[in-house]
Symmetry: C2
Subunit: 210 residues, 2 copies
Amino acid sequence: MVRIYGDCLSGNCYKLKLVTELLGTPHAWKFVTWTDGGTRTDDFVSRVNPAGKVPVLETPKGEMIPESGAALYYLARDSHLWPTRESDRAQVLRWMFFEQYSHEPNLAVSHSLKTAANPATETDTKLAELKPAGEGALQTMEQHLSTNDWFVAGAPTIADISLYPYTYKAPVAGFDLSDYPHVVAWLGRVERLLGFISMEDAIAQTTPAK
Amino acid sequence: MVRIYGDCLSGNCYKLKLVTELLGTPHAWKFVTWTDGGTRTDDFVSRVNPAGKVPVLETPKGEMIPESGAALYYLARDSHLWPTRESDRAQVLRWMFFEQYSHEPNLAVSHSLKTAANPATETDTKLAELKPAGEGALQTMEQHLSTNDWFVAGAPTIADISLYPYTYKAPVAGFDLSDYPHVVAWLGRVERLLGFISMEDAIAQTTPAK
């Protein structure tokens, strides 16, 4: 059985929970979060991830796989969420790299700035800096989804799973999704997939009671 | 035959040239660069990549694959640079996502700021902001390479190809590699691979004479 280290308050961790629910993958969830120092303990850094980050997937043989995109690949590699044609597989990776390079650094960081308990004085300046690139990422998605129901090969893949969390959270991050109607329709398609779990339910299921 | 759109002045494009040389992959190189507006022409945006970025790999069937990591996967998928064990494949992707998320945005952007023809007034501030995360990425590599000759499975893979260009250029970007001896030794191992082409030679081979 695989084990997942992380907290679903992070969209990058929630992606892994979402794919395990869509695939019915047996797994153990080990709650580890940055906010209470859990990702920086001696045990975590020496045994799980020297970089002190979540999520990390532990394989049944005890091998540790950091980086959400790598973990999504490992979880989905034998499923319908990883296509069979090689050029489709490359397109799935294309959208997953797009997400980590052009989407997440703008939308997730904006979300984190917007929801910070103690906003810093430079928050508004940083949000303004991230805005154009975030809008650009949403525009790239909107254009692709205007002629495609899903990102690759006309069916859901881990590309869609990867792009879902921080697009769903975009309004909280200060982005108005009414400018992106095809993106909104695609969010709905993801949410109607059999086995879909919302971020809120994922948080409730994986966060220990205080 | 595959076609590659890009210019080897960009480390992300050079990665593709490097892997085709290591594998002996027949390919046509179509020189397209950002600096003269080539990535923003109507033809490029409508036919090759709506996002207006290079590199892009065109498959023999005419399908376009943006994002260097996705193109590297497509080029290397049947070669010794893409391992056979699934957990090793996940580790290759882990380092490729690390490169695009934690390494390239700090080292490549610093390189670009350091080599800009007309430095902006805020350049020094931006370089100082990028410095800790760039050092952190090099430290993560140094730690891994202190007990490993290559990033995954004891042999060269597209993870090494992905991390090579902007690590090789780190000194120009303002990072002192003498603090990272295992990284320096690994750069040498990459450079001794059969078929290796330097960034300088790749630029000379792919840039049309004026």
